[in-house]
Amino acid sequence: MRVQLAAQGVLGEGLPDWRVARAVLAGTAPYVPAAAPEPAPALLPATEHRRASASVRWALAVGEQALRACGRDSAGLATVFVSCGGDGAITHQICEALALPPHAVSPTRFHNSVHNAPAGYWSIAAHSHAPSTSLSGYHGAFAIGLLEAATQATVQARSVLLIAYDLPYPPPLHALWPVAQPFAASLLLDPPPATGAALHLELRAGAAKEGWPEALPAELRSNPAARALELFAAAARGGATRVELPYSGSSHLVVEVRP
């Protein structure tokens, strides 16, 4: 299966956007640790910034970044959202409230707890009725999202925006899934023929070969969404290359990147 990578977005600690990330991944600038900028998606009205959870703001901000980079509109664009852990902060708040009398849940928190909350806020803010799906995987979440987005682009012959995000859980859930750093990435995929790097995807048996970019902090690797950086490193370097991404316990996704 082949799709074209029209644009991408990046949001993480020391990686505030694709421009900085590209320089780090291409080896032309050092990685400088720094807190991630507070995501302020332009799609959301200021009044919604407070109500929307952190994962919604991260997902929307990184999605917008890719669209800004190539001057595309969000309306009518199909979207695929993928996250391993979903919104741990909301799960924590709900489970804590359920454990204590009166065992009640806030209605807003409840509707924000669905895994497709970012997709819902995105479609409302973008006035988009286009198809959208929300997926979960474990350590292979990014590859699962990439394969679904590429499949949609291929079968339905339309552009698809993939948004992958994972934020660290608050304690005590953090001990269960010790992701150290927040990260979000977006990829705008076009069906061929189109401009941009060509991505050839193939699912293969067995574990993925390690390919974490040396320039990046090792602890970021525990964030499933950050696997996008292995693909982006290939795009930043410019030459044809091959990346193996973990998919599930028994398989991995091979991505051949051709500029």
Binding site: C95, V114, N116, A117, H129, A130, L135, A205, S250
Partner: protein, 394 residues
């Protein structure tokens, strides 16, 4: 799209184990709902509980997956000869060519809810019984189903609220069309939990009586739990078979928990499914409504259905039989819609006495024999997530 053969289906729900139990219950007018007796919940509501899950721990090599959600998934897989049908498909296509697409909205969240009651008073730590990847995480159920069936193809959890497992059918169809796999186990698994019971109570959407979809006096939902599966194959091994012939997915882009009042997104999902199948509205002869039983949801769906089909299409809502199984509802109702098609009957609308006189849709209240050619099932969820599935024969 090319019609995609459906070569096996399976169901475990409040109507009993197996599709036969569900058909029999609907023919006899026996709803699966009961007064809320879920663990220590004291909410005044009715639920569609699957009996016995409390006493059926997973054993053997998959014991680490043990939680209510995966117990229910296993119960569903064991019905209707489904596991044997998957084994035959894996032998035909190769285990790496058979995918797993499971829809759920909560997976094993119940385990986290219970673990939060047992936090260490000194450190706040959770008990070691809560395991992230095997029980808590949304991917747990897809991973469990894949390992239980010994499959090695694409594997994915779709989680888009109450449209989750309907969307799993669409994703599986695309994967087969793209050549990623030759067959797919598609399903929905959702268990009762406190988040959804208390959450819908907080939204004032839980009925204190068995839910009455599309009734003039409807006043909310009854939550249920279920596991439902279908086996989709690129080619059927023999003869005429049931088939997925269309699907449509849209976003409402209106509100996080309230549908668009005229059901614009819902209507578009139905039209997209018809277009993909190359059918006209008049070609469809039964629609399984999303039909939750809330004032707003049913009114919006009535408007959407009338806009697409007029007032001639026979519809029913089956959540009065099973309860609203949330993330599993798409697969549960796909299976009920396929049973209606296969066995030639219209499922009735349990508990509903008088269709809202303001509605234009034609609602079947009783289960009656009726030969069918093309049937549709609607699923709509929070976040404005809409999905319509269209079934026929090939």
């Amino acid at each position: 799209m090319a019609p995609l053969p459906i070569t096996a289906i399976a169901l475990a729900s409040a109507l009993g184990n197996g599709t036969g139990a569900a058909t029999q219950a609907m023919r006899q007018g026996q709803s699966g709902l009961r007064r809320n007796d879920f663990l220590d919940s004291s909410l005044d509501t009715w639920i569609g509980r699957v009996p016995g899950l409390e006493d059926a721990p997973l054993g053997g090599g998959l014991a680490h997956f043990d939680c209510r959600s995966n117990r229910l998934a296993l119960l569903g897989l064991r019905q209707d000869g489904f596991e044997a049908a998957v084994a035959r498909a894996a032998a035909r296509h190769g285990a790496q060519r058979v995918a797993v697409y499971i829809g759920t909205s909560s997976s094993g969240i119940l385990e986290a809810e219970l673990a939060f009651r047992q936090r260490d008073p000194a450190t706040g730590a959770l008990p070691a019984t809560l395991r992230f990847s095997d029980t808590y995480n949304l991917y747990s159920v897809a991973s469990f189903v894949q390992q239980r069936l010994g499959l090695h193809g694409p594997c994915c959890t779709v989680s888009a609220a109450c449209a989750s497992s309907a969307k799993a059918f669409a994703a599986a169809q695309r994967a087969i069309a793209a050549g990623l796999c030759d067959a797919a186990v598609v399903g929905g698994v959702e268990t009762l939990c406190f988040t959804t019971l208390q959450g819908f109570a907080a939204l004032e959407l839980l009925s204190s009586r068995p839910c009455r979809p599309f009734d003039a006096d409807r006043d909310g939902i009854s939550i249920g739990e279920a596991a439902a599966f279908a086996l989709l194959e690129k080619e059927a091994p023999g003869g005429e078979t049931l088939a997925l012939i269309g699907h449509g997915e849209t976003a409402d882009a209106f509100h996080m928990s309230t549908p668009h009042p005229q059901g614009l997104g819902a209507a578009q999902a139905m039209r997209d499914a018809l277009q993909l199948a190359g059918l006209s509205p008049g070609d469809v002869d039964y629609l399984n409504l999303h039909g939750t039983g809330t004032r707003n949801n049913d009114a919006a769906e009535n408007a959407a259905v009338c806009a697409v089909f007029g007032e001639q299409l026979t519809c029913s809502a089956t959540k009065g039989w099973t309860g609203h199984t949330l993330g599993a509802a798409g697969a549960v109702e796909a299976v009920l819609t396929l049973l209606a098609l296969r066995d030639g009957f219209l499922p009735g609308t349990a508990n509903t006495r008088r269709t809202d006189p303001q509605f234009g849709i034609r609602l079947a209240l009783e289960t009656v024999p009726q030969p069918l050619r093309h049937t549709m099932s609607n699923s709509f969820g929070f976040g404005g997530s809409n999905c319509s599935l269209l079934f026929g024969r090939v």
